[in-house]
């Protein structure tokens, strides 16, 4: 293991109304292409990711992010800065822009900050072919009912959420239950694309799932979280056979 982790977490804690929801001593993410995070409902998985993206403020602990050669202390940053630094998260609960079409929603993800300023409204508009081509390319992987219209079904909205994040060209992509609300074939299409990007680009993925088959199939490394604590991690086989995982988790889901 000489590969340097993209993300190093130490002593991370978060409480909600006095109850400790996350308490992770050590966690390194980004040594493997795709890593999994599993655990029972309410284990604190979503909260942990929220702490990483700075959607939530941690009570204690350190969060170090290494996108390139540099080290960034995430605690100094706001959520939008973290996202621009290449660390983004897809949403567990469907999130959507009510009045944006599919293409506009994707153009939003691709728009550089200097084009989104108060006075740029008066500057000349150009159709940006490169952007449209990039959108066409990524849409070609998925069967949207009307790719030039709106995302209507819950599945299409969920998919759009993931595609938006991919278009940001993240260095670390956190995926919170991508299968929730997505039909099985679409989940596979998403994972195939993610796998391809991990192989071809500088991208590491950290993924929360209750669909354990997906975890065993795609993840090189799996972490198990229960009651906010990281109880074990290792290869899928090691985690699958771990007594604590079997006791606290496998008993309650069908594997």
């Amino acid at each position: 293991m000489t590969v340097e982790a993209k993300l190093s977490i130490a002593g991370l804690e978060k409480s909600f109304v006095g109850r400790k929801v996350v308490s992770v001593d050590r966690l390194e993410i980004g040594r493997h292409g795709i890593e999994g995070l599993i655990g029972p409902n309410g284990a604190g998985k979503t909260t942990l990711m929220g702490l990483i993206t700075r959607k939530l403020k941690a009570d204690a602990g350190t969060l170090i992010y290494r996108p390139g050669g540099t080290e960034i202390d995430l605690r100094q940053m706001s959520m939008d800065q973290v996202a621009r630094a290449g660390l983004v998260k897809t949403n567990q609960v469907i999130q959507d822009f009510e009045t944006l079409s599919i293409r506009d929603s994707l153009r939003l993800a691709l728009a550089p900050a200097e084009r989104e300023q108060f006075w740029t409204v008066f500057t000349k508009r150009r159709k940006r072919d490169a952007v449209e081509a990039e959108i066409d390319e990524i849409l070609s992987h998925f069967p949207f009912e009307n790719p030039n219209g709106d995302a209507r079904s819950a599945g299409e909205k969920k998919l759009l959420d993931i595609i938006r994040c991919l278009l940001l060209k993240p260095k670390v992509l956190l995926m919170d239950e991508p299968t929730a609300g997505l039909p099985d074939d679409l989940t596979r299409a998403v994972m195939t694309l993610v796998q391809k990007k991990v192989a071809e680009e500088d991208l590491k993925v950290f993924i929360i799932e209750h669909d354990l088959d997906l975890i065993w199939d795609y993840c090189a490394h799996v972490n198990f979280l229960a009651d906010g604590r990281l109880l074990c991690s290792g290869t899928p086989q090691e985690v699958k056979d771990h007594p604590v995982v079997v006791e606290k988790y496998m008993g309650v889901v069908d594997v």
């Binding site: 822009f97 009045t99 079409s101 989104e116 740029t120």
Partner: protein, 293 residues
């Protein structure tokens, strides 16, 4: 004839501030219930800069606009992170404070006695009023063109995203708070600009001019016409201020005995309008947003 020009200029000013309110509320969802505060601060500031400090008209106008923008920036920094109700209360409170200070700080504003005289920036004899109306319309046109262009711009798309789902836009790397703050400050400064333009129009300022009625009229016009469309603001103002303050007052022969009733009937009809609109077209005459193409 001069009175007709005054009334039309009043309509133009209302269109200006209602367009700006459309930008704030319709485009970004900022619930500004202190429209008259920004407008009134601009009006009095312009007057004070011109009359008390003796600054040239244009310099006074720009300084007044800038001052209102700075106030909006400070207010926005305090409240724009909060929810809509808090913004509503804070902006309403701001307008109330402006009204209060204008009334009590007699050394600066003349208090209830009034403040004047704020001259027109030019004197073209009989053509002065029409020329000034044209000047106000030019500023209205700038705001209208801006609002229309926003629809198809990357910045407009970002504002729609912030209005629809701010946390989601924030998570996509957009500095949503900064954008809201700048947008709020500039559009509120615009309200101050129309206030500054109103100073010369009124020539003599009294605190009752900056009562909450101005805010409510702009809101009623916007909701009536359709908050999501720039044209909605224009239709709404024409159907309210235009109908009552210009058409009826100028052209309808109302016997003197009944003239006093007009403002009350106006308010009753505004209320009735609103009820009908809410029942049959909750998004205003022009309807709501479709999805963007």
């Amino acid at each position: 004839m001069a009175y007709l020009y005054f009334s039309l200029a009043l309509v133009a000013v209302y269109i200006g501030i209602t367009l700006l309110l459309h930008l704030q509320f319709g485009r970004v969802g900022i619930v500004n219930f202190g429209v008259v505060g920004f407008w009134g601060l601009g009006m009095y500031a312009h007057g004070v800069f011109m009359v008390t400090l003796g600054l040239p008209w244009l310099v006074a106008l720009l300084l007044a606009t800038l001052l209102v923008g700075l106030f909006a920036l400070a207010l926005g920094a305090l409240v724009l992170r909060l929810d809509g109700q808090s913004v509503l209360v804070a902006t309403l409170a701001f307008a109330t404070i402006v009204l209060h200070l204008v009334t009590t700080e007699k050394w600066l504003t003349g208090g209830v006695v009034g403040f004047g005289t704020i001259e027109y920036p030019f004197d073209f004899g009989a053509a002065t009023e029409p020329a000034y109306l044209a000047l106000i319309l030019a500023f209205v046109a700038v705001v209208l063109v801006y609002a229309l262009r926003l629809d198809s711009s990357a910045y407009g798309r970002l504002l729609s995203a912030i209005r629809d789902n701010e946390p989601l836009a924030h998570g996509l790397g957009k500095p949503t708070f900064r954008h809201k703050l700048i947008f709020f400050a500039v559009t509120s400064a615009g309200m101050g600009l129309f206030g500054g333009l109103s100073a010369s129009l009124n020539q003599f300022l009294t605190p009752n001019m900056i009562a909450p009625g101005v805010t409510f009229t702009a809101w009623i016009a916007l909701v009536l016409g359709g908050k999501d469309h720039p044209w909605g603001a224009i239709i709404g103002v024409c159907a309210t201020v235009g109908l009552f303050d210009v058409f009826i007052e100028t052209f309808a022969p109302i016997p003197a005995d009944y003239a006093l009733l007009v403002p009350n009937i106006k308010l009753m009809l505004y209320g009735a309008f609103l009820v009908v609109i809410m029942l049959y077209r909750p998004s205003g005459v022009l309807g709501g947003y479709g999805r963007r193409g």
